[in-house]
Assembly symmetry: C2
Homo-oligomer: 370 residues x 2
């Protein structure tokens, strides 16, 4: 079997690393000639909307998937006329637009932060009047890692916010005073089988995920049930095939859906060593119609992103239960260059290792854990 992956970044790379053991060959479509996945896959170097390249990409493939949700819907549709594309176009359409996404969640009775569409300064003023301040103005499309966002703290910020982002469709979102951020990784296979991973607790800085703890500490039965129920509703409603991540806020014991990613997700990297089946293998099982794997956690895991610059590697590998994943990308501020998964048998040992690694990895919000 030969799988095509749109996008050749670290997610495509880790999908490829999971594909080979299943006997699946991989071709990536990716404009950057030195992309992380290109080192271990056949790579077609072209833009995602290059029709000729898309046709060459599709030739001889059995199946297509993608590593990021901003694949042009036209490209996905072009490929879908030729061969199966999973997850399907509806998931892309929903996930590419924050307004559609939150409207979709609400249609399934899934709580979300308050929100309102914003297309003009007047609408922005009305939305602020409705939702109150602080609030976050965001582009509806193409935001990631905190990009395309403006936090409006006071009424005086309105003009600057419009100045910064206006001109494209926007959404104003309630600023949620959450107790923590969580995510759930969920998979549904082409045959309809569903498997859910335990909740993950996520810590961001500067809009970028820095640290995930899995399974999330202090999750009670009610929290698990909310997460599992909402994930099932999303998977079923979309007739989804593949792995899906839903980012959540916990507020007063209630989970609010913030956004979803129709793909493998940074907050699921811990599953490579920390779960019986990795999210990458799970995604491949799901889109090829194989039985899904067990999602049981194996001990406790902390996933630490390596952002901007690489720390020294030797002291990291000397830590017990440390697993290094480098993406072979050139260092650049704010860029995800790799991650480390720390595994431990109990909370105390995990905290010790996280504190040790905080000496090596800058901006790690490790102290907040203790």
């Amino acid at each position: 079997m030969k799988l095509g992956i749109i996008g050749g970044g670290q997610l495509g790379r880790m999908l490829a690393l999971a594909a080979y053991p299943l006997g699946i060959d991989v071709r990536t479509l990716e404009p950057s000639p030195d992309a992380p996945a290109g080192r271990l896959t056949e790579q077609i170097i072209a833009a995602y909307d290059d029709r000729q390249a898309l046709a060459a990409f599709a030739a001889g493939l059995d199946l297509v998937t993608y590593e990021f949700e901003n694949v042009p819907v036209q490209s996905a549709a072009f490929l879908a006329e030729r061969l199966p594309v999973h997850p399907g176009p509806r998931a892309l359409e929903v996930a590419q637009d924050r307004l559609h996404e939150k409207t979709f969640f609400r249609s399934l009775n899934i709580p979300t932060p308050g929100f309102a569409p914003v297309a003009s300064p007047a609408e922005l003023r009305r939305a602020v009047a409705d939702l109150g301040l602080p609030a976050v103005l965001k582009t509806r499309r193409l935001g990631y890692d905190g990009k395309g966002q403006y936090v409006i703290a006071r009424a005086a910020d309105l003009d600057a916010a419009w100045e910064a982002l206006g001109g494209v469709p926007l959404i104003l979102e309630e600023h949620v005073d959450f107790s923590r951020e969580l995510s759930i990784l969920a998979a549904r296979s082409t045959g309809g089988e569903i498997a859910l991973y335990p909740l993950v607790e996520n810590h961001h800085r500067g809009g970028i995920l820095r640290l995930s703890l899995a399974p999330a500490p202090d999750r009670d039965g009610a929290l698990n049930r909310q997460a599992e129920s909402l994930a099932r509703r999303v998977l079923e409603e979309l007739g989804y095939a593949g792995l899906l991540a839903i980012e959540l806020f916990e507020r007063d014991g209630v989970l609010l859906a913030n956004e979803m990613a129709p793909r493998v997700h940074n907050s699921g990297h811990w599953t490579i060593e920390g779960a019986e089946t990795s999210q990458f293998e799970q995604h491949l099982r799901a889109i090829t119609g194989l039985p899904l794997g067990a999602t049981t956690a194996r001990g406790l895991s902390a996933m630490v992103n390596l952002i901007g610059t690489l720390p020294p590697i030797e002291p990291i590998l000397a830590l017990p239960g440390a697993h290094l994943h480098l993406y072979q990308k050139a260092p650049r501020p704010g860029r995800k260059l790799g991650h480390i998964t720390l595994r431990a048998a109990d909370t105390r040992k995990l905290q010790q290792t996280v504190l040790a690694i905080a000496q090596l990895v800058p901006e790690l919000p490790a102290r907040s854990l203790i």
Copy 2:
């Protein structure tokens, strides 16, 4: 860093899969154009003794290792003049010749089965008189998976055995009435750090490994100490860098060293999911001078080889804790096409899964476990 691997079979492939996450690029040297590792590495298609190809292979590499011990010593020496080659040439020389190997073990006071060199029918008769029957006549070089061996049960078999194997240097080995076969995986880094995995119990059929259980059941402290002590002596004496496997017979509570492989080994495949650090990552850490990883077992594992033909994949992946590794080789009798690692929390669950998989994988000696 760019690593060269001599050999592009499944071992080279799994080394490459472990190399990328460490940020190591891989080039393989391998004569077969559709070798398992070639799908995910840069591959130079040439014979192992092709000097021009060896020079092209070496260009731009930081380090060379190999996936099989029958690399021509001349080729290893040619490369060693240009860049570091690990493990070193002495390990190759010892491991390539059964007589040197057993003599080497004895020189370290490591028990072995009785043996005698055989270069003529007369020597064969003398050796049989010394060691008794049954005994096994083997070629000193280039045997694997039971090839190049002849079991001499009675004196009447002597002529046929000589007929079958004579003409190249031979060794006669005592037929050991062992209670079981075990192996130990051991690593030593270029800096001298040593890490030892728990003993593995191995089950062969037709001279081919079919099933490994790890950690080996019913191993007591004395057995562990013997294995660890002999492995340390071998590593230290060779000034070894990399992963090494030593195959052992257990007889009356004593371990006899049968042979060693200066490379990653089939009986270590369970470590991918079943140990904190896989043998493949450990080998890479060892030869690049990184700190060695923890060798702790994670639960219990059974590794099942897929030989000759592939079983149906769906029912295997539906088993709890089953991990599939296909090598993408064309089916052929006696050929290793892949393996499955089964993980479980306790012996009873592991036995259940092994019995379930025995319904799917032919010639699996699963019944012998119960």
